[in-house]
């Protein structure tokens, strides 16, 4: 049986006065960004020096990198706003108790709110999908690349959505819910970046912690969605025809930095007869996000469960009446 909250939320979200305006603004923004990155790609083609096919592929990758990072930014802006309001809005308009006394239960309520937020963002992402496919046609980006990046994007939506629903379930006010949701995004993006600075300083002395054949990885940024996405872009599971090109783009250069890895030729010279055994960085990011999601949902379900925490209640109740 379908969760009734999902149908109700989607219907009201797309029926609201600003739904059409919001969707139009989103699509105009995505098209505008796509066109700008395409112009950047044309510049890249004219200056590439890899022949026409190579230059087009490089342009495709450059456009793709920027588009994906911009869509990721949009996701990190939109998801906390949508999911962060989910439960808090019910509390604010006094409809939460009506759902709590229904037969949905705490899990039905939380999963309904979470899924409806994800579906709303999913509709926005799906509307941008044709534009994301343009770089694939330019070359340099395989369908495997597209699947991997969209998969990671989906995981970020799912995970940040779960954290936002949890924050929303705990918040007493709408402002608190929105602030809390964005605070988590701030922690994931900015605080991990600040920790990276500390880590760079700490590990700055190569003699104390020498760089091995696989490079040296910064741990503080594992949970950073941008670093994870850069890793997905630069280290896909399935190598495309333009595998060598990816190291010449933004994502390749960034991942080289985060892994402190020498280009393969240098590595072979320094560590002859060795093969890199390091798994892609995004594996760690995915593991963290996969762990955060159920934890956040359990927290949200506990927060909306009525009447309070039954186990603790039972223990106290027993003591009080015996």
């Amino acid at each position: 049986m379908t969760n009734p909250i999902i149908a109700n939320e989607l219907r009201t979200r797309f029926r609201g006065r600003f739904a059409a305006v919001g969707l139009t603004v989103w699509l105009v923004a995505v098209v505008g960004i796509g066109y700008l990155t395409y112009l950047l790609g044309l510049v890249q083609i004219s200056q590439g020096g890899f022949g026409e096919v190579g230059n087009r592929a490089l342009a495709g990758r450059a456009v793709y990198d920027w588009l994906i990072l911009l869509v990721l930014t949009a996701v990190l802006v939109v998801v906390p706003a949508v999911a962060g309001l989910s439960v808090a809005l019910e509390r604010d308009r006094a409809t939460l108790p009506l759902l709590q006394v229904s037969q949905l239960g705490a899990w039905g309520l939380v999963l309904g709110k979470w899924a409806s937020s994800l579906l709303y963002v999913g509709v926005l992402l799906a509307s941008a999908a044709p534009i994301l496919a343009v770089p694939v046609l330019l070359g340099g980006v395989g369908w495997g690349d597209l699947a991997a990046t969209l998969g990671f994007l989906l995981l970020v939506v799912v995970s940040v959505g779960a954290i936002s629903v949890w924050t929303s379930a705990r918040a007493k006010t709408l402002r608190g819910a929105i602030f809390g949701s964005y605070l988590w995004v701030f922690v994931l993006v900015v605080v991990t970046g600040a920790l990276l600075l500390g880590e760079v300083l700490l590990l700055g002395d190569g003699r104390a912690n020498p760089i091995g054949p696989d490079g040296r990885e910064f741990v503080s940024v594992w949970a950073n969605p941008y670093v994870g996405m850069l890793s997905v872009l630069a280290e896909p599971v399935e190598a495309s025809d333009a595998a060598d090109l990816r190291w010449r783009t933004l994502s390749g250069a960034a991942i080289d930095f985060f892994l402190q890895r020498q280009p393969e030729q240098v590595r072979q010279q320094r560590f002859p007869d060795t093969e890199s055994t390091r798994s892609p960085l995004w594996w760690r990011t995915v593991a963290i996000y996969l762990a955060m999601t159920p934890l956040a949902l359990v927290g949200a379900a506990r927060s909306v469960r009525a009447p309070g925490k039954p186990d603790r209640f039972k223990a106290r109740h027993k003591g009080a009446t015996s």
Binding site: P97, L99, Q100, S102, A306, P307, P310, K314, A320, T321
Partner: protein, 310 residues
């Protein structure tokens, strides 16, 4: 249907309920009366599975709301004191949504929504946005929502609050209809006349304690030792009546104005008749003599000691 015994609930240092005891029999319409902050909403939230108690026993149709909330929710329709609505939803969609949350089968929902809209007199508003309804209509829609899964028990928190007189009469008729359908109703109010003529049972709550509860007639009967009397005499005799009543034992709260005296009299009909005979014998010319049994307000004032400490 609802049984509470020694229920205590604290919000920080404030004790909202301190050993409250209540018994709502099946099929009864119990009015829960008390001033703001007396503990009415807290009691209702505990019975409705929305709030955990700190101590005491609660059972709703044999289930503990804190331990078996799912079973209680199947049997209970809850109407809070504030009507919250979702944006851009029609009355029919509103009810259909809550029917789905109560796991009413999909094929049953459209006829059920029609039936309930008919019951609460909102059939002509089925396509109207819920936000455009008047307060009285919203209260009726909220009642329809509470009935969506045909619960045996209704918990209605201040349903008449803010309604105009006409809407109150309509609500009273609705509740009478529900009792005919065999529902048990727990209904709260701090405006006592709202519950007059609506309830078969009464519970008076003040400062977290249920001071009295039981059948309305029994409680009134226990308090029949007091009657409110209104007397009108010939204007020249008014001063003598005032002096006479002042000196009479059992007379209280005497107010004299414009040839009329209003006072309370301890005792029943016999004491009232005796007083009238004495007044007439004292040559005070009585034009009108009306006595009433205690109303809800008086019952409440007597039980709570007039709201004074102690």
């Amino acid at each position: 249907m609802i049984r509470m015994d020694g229920v205590t609930k604290r919000y920080g240092k404030v004790e909202a309920l301190s050993g409250a005891a209540l018994d709502v029999p099946e099929g009864a319409v119990m009015g829960l009366i008390g001033p703001n902050g007396a503990g009415k909403t807290t009691s209702m939230l505990i019975a409705s599975t929305l709030l955990a108690r700190d101590a005491g026993e609660v059972s709703v149709a044999g289930y503990d709301p804190a331990v078996n909330p799912t079973e209680v929710r199947r049997l209970l329709g809850y109407m809070p004191d504030f009507f919250g609505v979702h944006e851009s939803v029609s009355c029919a969609e509103y009810l259909a949504f809550f029917a789905a949350t109560q796991k009413v089968p999909a094929h049953r929902r459209p006829p059920l929504v029609d039936e309930l809209l008919e019951l609460v007199g909102l059939s002509d508003k089925r396509h109207d946005d819920v936000n455009t309804l008047s307060r009285g209509m919203k209260q009726r829609l909220s009642l329809a929502r509470a009935l969506i899964h045909d619960p045996a028990l209704l918990v209605l928190d201040e349903p008449a609050s803010g309604l105009d007189p006409r809407a109150r009469v309509e609500l009273r008729e609705l509740i009478a209809e529900l009792t005919r359908l065999g529902k048990t109703v727990l209904i709260s109010s701090h405006i006592l006349p709202e519950l007059e003529g609506m309830c078969s049972h009464l519970a008076v709550i003040d400062r977290g304690r249920v001071l009295a509860h039981g059948e309305m007639d029994r409680i009134r009967g226990e308090l029949s030792g007091m009657r409110r009397v209104r007397a009108r005499v010939v204007e020249d005799d008014l001063e003598r009546l005032e002096r006479f009543l002042d000196d009479t034992e059992g007379v209280g709260d005497l107010v004299v104005e414009r040839a009329r005296a209003r006072f309370t009299l301890e005792g029943g009909e016999a004491e009232q008749a005796a007083l009238l005979a004495t007044v007439v014998a004292a040559d005070i010319r009585v034009v009108e003599w009306v006595a009433e049994a205690a109303g809800l307000e008086e019952v409440f004032m007597r039980i709570t000691g007039g709201g004074d400490e102690g």
